[in-house]
């Protein structure tokens, strides 16, 4: 076992993690900061984000407008103090990224350009063509290279948090190249590991999105919040689940059913106009658009394909020039992965699991309930996103709350005595567990892929766009069985060098825990709100559920759900109105 130590330890090198690390380096330059990630930072899933990042910068827009769009988009489950901090700090964080070299698309006069986005009443989404996440991530990564105090442990897989005296004091990781166990002692740990879309069979998420940080926190005793809220993006390519950005609709794209009809007009989302109208039709929020697809499917008005039903996204009328300047990646993705040219053909799309509104419960500084443990980005739930996130808020969230968590963790770390070396004993125990449970394990009959597929199928059946109590209950039983079968895993690979079967097993075990939390939280929320739609409880119930679900891991390993009231500051719960 190798032992390291640092002041602030950031897990994950995506948008939130790098923002956190740079914030520590900028504001507390005397502290040492380490970024540990199971991939090289530029492989992080931030890279796949396309459409843009929201922040108020133009005349005629205002912070209150951004806040209201976010809160109503989240069906009033957002904490409004967090939203207010978010919209207030967003413009400076975005400008900072501009100063660091992010190649934002521009107006002819050289100012940063903005585009409309779903659920936003004003154009406020900054964009770098349709590769915004890619450019933001590479800008952050390249900028992080200039800080000598930022050290990296690339391709190291975190298996356990070290907790002593009720405080997080570091973690245990597996160095993939060598199979060596690392114990990293730290005064504060920030989890920035992103979401867990891979719990579902059809997702835009990369293969690395297994909720590692969420599961690590949950197992260590820090609760998860609002995990029942799973966002389906309305436009993914069938089979691959590749995201076709909302920017296609922001630029004027139409969603058409099998009759070529703009069906969103039938779902209280407005009346069709030739040009895009803000907060209307194709620029409605993602939850409502994905639900409309399901209703169209029930009516038999979707198209049939080998990978399920789909509708058409039509951007042909935008013309080649607009597509090539504003949506070049969409054209490239369609050509390379779907064999079609959106300049000439309609794009087949269907709803696809995209984002977790829930995550590790934090306050507005990114602090969890456990001293020394912080979280930000998709892994965290602050919550600004409530029951449904608006497109282009998540990249900005990574910047704002990444930086906030970095500064809060640094302030905490600079005030702490040296961690207790006795946690190293726990690290040795963890090393022995990994050896016994996986590396030297023989026998077993279950394959990782089989269990993973069964988990994904049960999640889609029970915790998809529409849910009901009995399917969720069956799913809870099934997941419990899968947990038991996991103990009987058969492993082909006993090598210490880059053992991706071992990491696959660990990822599956993280996802099984989180699947149980999603199902338990969904089962207990007997109302419909945002992305959580219960056929058996179709109305929103503010009397009982204007509250966050908070999931703890009970002694027997199953989730225990409590509720926490939503923080309302200036926007009392109201009706969500789109298109009128």
């Amino acid at each position: 076992m190798d032992t390291f130590s640092c002041d602030v330890l950031v897990v994950g090198g995506g948008g939130a993690g790098l923002s956190a690390a740079i914030a520590v380096a900028e504001t507390y330059p005397s502290l040492s900061v380490t970024v540990i990630s199971k991939v090289y930072p530029m492989r992080s899933h931030t890279v796949s984000a396309e459409g843009g990042a929201a922040a108020v910068i133009k005349a005629g827009d205002g912070l209150d407008e951004h806040a209201y769009d976010t809160i109503s988009g989240g069906d009033w489950l957002s904490d409004q103090d967090a939203v207010e901090a978010f919209v207030r700090e967003a413009p400076d964080e975005m400008l900072q990224l501009e100063h660091w070299g992010c190649p934002w698309s521009r107006e002819p006069d050289g100012h940063v350009a903005v585009r409309p986005f779903g659920g936003m009443k004003t154009e406020r989404t900054w964009f770098a063509a349709d590769k915004t996440g890619f450019h933001m991530l590479h800008t952050l990564f390249q900028t992080s290279l200039k800080y000598d105090v930022i050290r990296r442990h690339d391709e190291c897989f975190v298996t356990k948090l070290l907790i002593d005296d009720g405080r997080c004091q570091g973690l245990v990781a597996l160095e993939l190249a060598t199979g060596k166990i690392q114990a990293i002692i730290a005064k504060a740990v920030i989890l920035c590991t992103g979401g867990c879309g891979k719990i579902f069979p059809f997702t835009t998420n990369a293969s690395i999105k297994n909720g590692d940080g969420m599961a690590l926190a949950y197992r260590a005793g820090a609760p998860l919040k609002d995990m029942e809220f799973v966002q389906y993006h309305p436009t993914g390519l069938p089979f691959t689940g590749i995201l076709i950005t909302e920017a296609t609709r922001a630029e004027g794209g139409w969603l058409l059913n099998k009759d070529g009809y703009r069906y969103l007009q039938d779902y209280d989302l407005g009346t069709p106009q030739p040009k895009p109208v803000l907060r209307s039709m194709e620029l409605g929020p993602r939850d409502r658009l994905s639900q409309a697809f399901m209703k169209e499917q029930e009516k038999g008005r979707t198209l049939k394909g080998p990978y399920g039903d789909y509708v058409h996204l039509d951007i042909r009328h935008l013309g080649e020039q607009v597509i090539d300047t504003k949506l070049p990646f969409v054209r490239e993705l369609c050509a390379k992965y779907a064999g079609l040219d959106p300049v000439k053909e309609m794009i087949p799309v269907r709803p696809v699991v995209h984002y977790m509104m829930g995550g590790i419960h934090t306050d507005i500084h990114g602090a969890t309930r456990m001293p020394g443990l912080y979280a930000s980005g998709e892994a965290a739930c602050v919550s600004i996103n409530g029951a449904n996130r608006l497109g282009s808020n998540s990249l900005t969230e990574c910047l704002v709350f990444g930086a906030r968590s970095g500064m809060a963790a640094a302030a905490f770390a600079s005030d702490q005595r040296e961690p207790n070396q006795s946690v190293l004993g726990q690290a040795h125990d963890e090393e022995r567990r990994l050896e016994a449970q996986f590396l030297r394990k023989t026998g077993g009959t279950e394959r990782i892929a089989t269990l993973r597929t069964e988990m994904q199928e049960t999640m889609e059946r029970s915790a998809g766009i529409y849910r009901d109590g009995s399917a969720l209950q069956q799913s809870a039983v099934k997941l419990h069985q899968l947990q038991e079968r996991f103990q009987d895993l058969a492993l082909d690979d006993h090598s210490y060098t880059f053992n991706t079967e071992l990491t696959g097993a660990l990822e599956l075990s993280y996802m099984l825990d989180l699947a149980q939390v999603i199902v338990a939280s969904a089962l207990q929320r007997r109302e419909s709100r945002g992305s959580h739609q219960r056929n058996d409880y179709p109305a929103r119930d503010d009397r009982q559920y204007l509250a966050h679900s908070v999931a703890y891991r009970a002694e027997n390993g199953s989730p225990r759900i409590e509720y926490l009231p939503v923080k309302i500051t200036r926007w009392p719960p109201g009706q969500r109105v789109y298109g009128r």
């Binding site: 492989r43 796949s48 400008l95 940063v112 390249q142 394959r447 892929a449 082909d492 880059f498 079967e501």
Partner: protein, 247 residues
């Protein structure tokens, strides 16, 4: 269409193999499958010990570069149907040390990347309250192409100079340096030129242009290198003619 296709996959497990060996697997052929799907089929169903990197499956994370029938490719974008009848040979990227199976060691590249100072260098930093640096769409177009690199390493695996001269900073790093040099917000070109001209290899580039041909993102590293050589040569010339500097 064939019902199955054969894959010859390079295996190297340092604990048991002295050198890489090929292992053959038969996988179902499907029209919409890429080589990466076939590798995942093998890992999930046939042999859990096969190791390779992958993540986004949409050609932007840069993880899944491998040699497919001898050419560097992103395996998420390499369709089985373009490589029929098979067998399809899958190997780790050329010129990199092999760690395990299809996984290569890229730590050396990460160090080279840092050497070229890929960040905005300025004497005077604009305070945030002054807003953004103005940059017109035309100014953006000057460097935009070089900002598209996803660090997938295909250009290194295609570059004959990388094979001969391990110290060569390489196509992607040079293109990235040029991305910042050409950015209207940056003032670091001089520092980067010194780093690059002191560095082994840039003069060895023979402009074969293989790097540009294999780039999945249409970056033109070969063009960046030629631009550098020209600027570098001019600077050397200037230092002879104006030994006390050009200021």
């Amino acid at each position: 269409m064939p019902p199955t296709v054969m894959l010859e996959v390079s295996r190297y497990r340092p604990e048991q193999d002295d050198k890489p060996v090929f292992q053959t697997y038969e996988v179902p052929f499907r029209d919409d499958w890429v080589v990466l799907d076939a590798l995942n089929y093998i890992k999930d169903r046939l042999d859990g010990s096969l190791s390779f990197r992958w993540s986004c499956r949409m050609g932007v994370c840069g993880s899944c570069g491998m040699m497919v029938n001898g050419r560097p490719k992103l395996t998420c974008a390499a369709f089985l149907s373009d490589h029929l009848p098979g067998p399809i040979r899958v190997e780790p990227l050329n010129y990199f040390p092999i760690m395990r199976d299809l996984i290569v060691d890229i730590t050396d590249f990460l160090e080279k990347l840092k050497k070229v100072k890929p960040w905005i260098v300025r004497d005077q930093v604009l305070p945030l309250e002054k807003g953004e640096y103005r940059q017109t769409p035309q100014q953006l177009d000057v460097y935009r192409q070089f900002s598209q690199c996803i660090n997938c390493m295909l250009c290194y695996a295609a570059c004959p100079v990388v094979g001969l001269e391990p110290g060569f900073v390489g196509p992607a790093a040079i293109a990235l340096a040029q991305r910042y040099n050409l950015d209207s917000r940056d003032e670091g070109a001089k520092q980067r030129l010194k780093i690059l001209s002191d560095h082994a290899g840039i003069w060895g580039c023979t402009f074969v242009g293989e790097c540009t041909q294999v780039c999945p993102k249409h970056v033109d590293p070969a063009g960046a290198i030629q631009q550098y050589k020209l600027t570098g040569a001019l600077d050397t010339l200037k230092s002879f003619l104006l030994p006390f500097g050009t200021r």
